[in-house]
Symmetry: C2
């Protein structure tokens, strides 16, 4: 209970809507868990929302060891290994049966191949887009992220789990382009 | 998705372990949701952990309107009304069926009578205790909270849902008394 508090000081790359500080990975984990619950009926494939929420509650715990990485960076093998090590170290604190269950769930999320993992990963993508859309593209501009990159990477991930969700996001992204937040 | 971001700026009354700033209600909501999942097998009564997690994901959303209140304060009817109004206003943004479901779930949590609500409320109590235990009783001292009040209020709530959890918490609280963090 104490160990995971460290996730509250892992800073992400965007500022939440209405906030001047960077978001941390703990509050982000809450946000996406709740969002998955609200948007569950828009998944294209059959999902088990309870498993999706569990994945999202734990999905960033590897960052306690490795830190947060912007999704547009090609994630190095080294960072992925650090996250995996961090997760295993953390879950080793749990009773054996629970340790196995949580390690599997995290690996399933990372692989992103099952319906549950695909939906969880799609939801995970949306808040940073909204932060940029409502925040003058602050993180896109800072990290020199092109319009092409934003559309292609997110379309693949989000549309792969929910066409409805991607349609909505695409509309908002187009407005951001018009407003000069993304170029 | 954007509206609930406001919970990230509702500050609570304790500082997380290892942090010099006050915790916000969004990261707290993540913490207790994850903790419920880890501690589910220690509930005295039969619970549905998926409902417990849903309750904990939404339990503090009324604070967007009303702000956070220390649990040792006698909560005024006015604050409770504000929270209830805030919740209804927020959930009115949802599709009707979901609005009803979430309103019911929040009311069930608030009433604290079902097994699921009792367990959720017990879990909700633990982090602020750990923050004080590991943080020289900072919030107990600032708000002049007595040892008697800490033990009696939390015993009732936590032991009422999990004897095992209360035993562990009691041991830690006794250490805090010995260390002079609580008097």
């Amino acid at each position: 209970m104490v160990e995971v508090e460290k996730l509250k000081s892992v800073l992400r790359k965007t500022k939440s809507v209405g906030h001047s500080r960077y978001e941390n990975s703990a509050e982000h984990s809450w946000h996406v868990s709740l969002m998955a619950l609200l948007l569950k009926d828009h998944a294209d494939d059959e999902i088990d929302i309870n498993r999706v929420i569990k994945m999202l509650l734990i999905h960033d715990l590897g960052e306690i060891e490795a830190g947060d990485t912007i999704i547009y960076a090609s994630e190095t093998t080294e960072i992925k290994q650090q996250e995996g090590q961090g997760i295993r170290k953390l879950f080793a604190l749990l009773p054996a049966k629970m340790e196995d269950e949580f390690n599997s769930l995290w690996l399933e999320f990372e692989a992103g191949e099952t319906n549950d993992a695909k939906f969880a990963k799609a939801i995970d993508r949306v808040p940073p887009l909204l932060h940029n859309i409502h925040g003058e593209g602050h993180s896109w501009k800072l990290h020199n992220i092109s319009k092409e990159k934003v559309f292609s990477l997110n379309k693949a991930r989000i549309q792969g789990a929910s066409h409805t969700l991607w349609e909505e996001v695409e509309t908002e992204l187009n407005k951001a382009v018009e407003a000069g937040a993304l170029s």
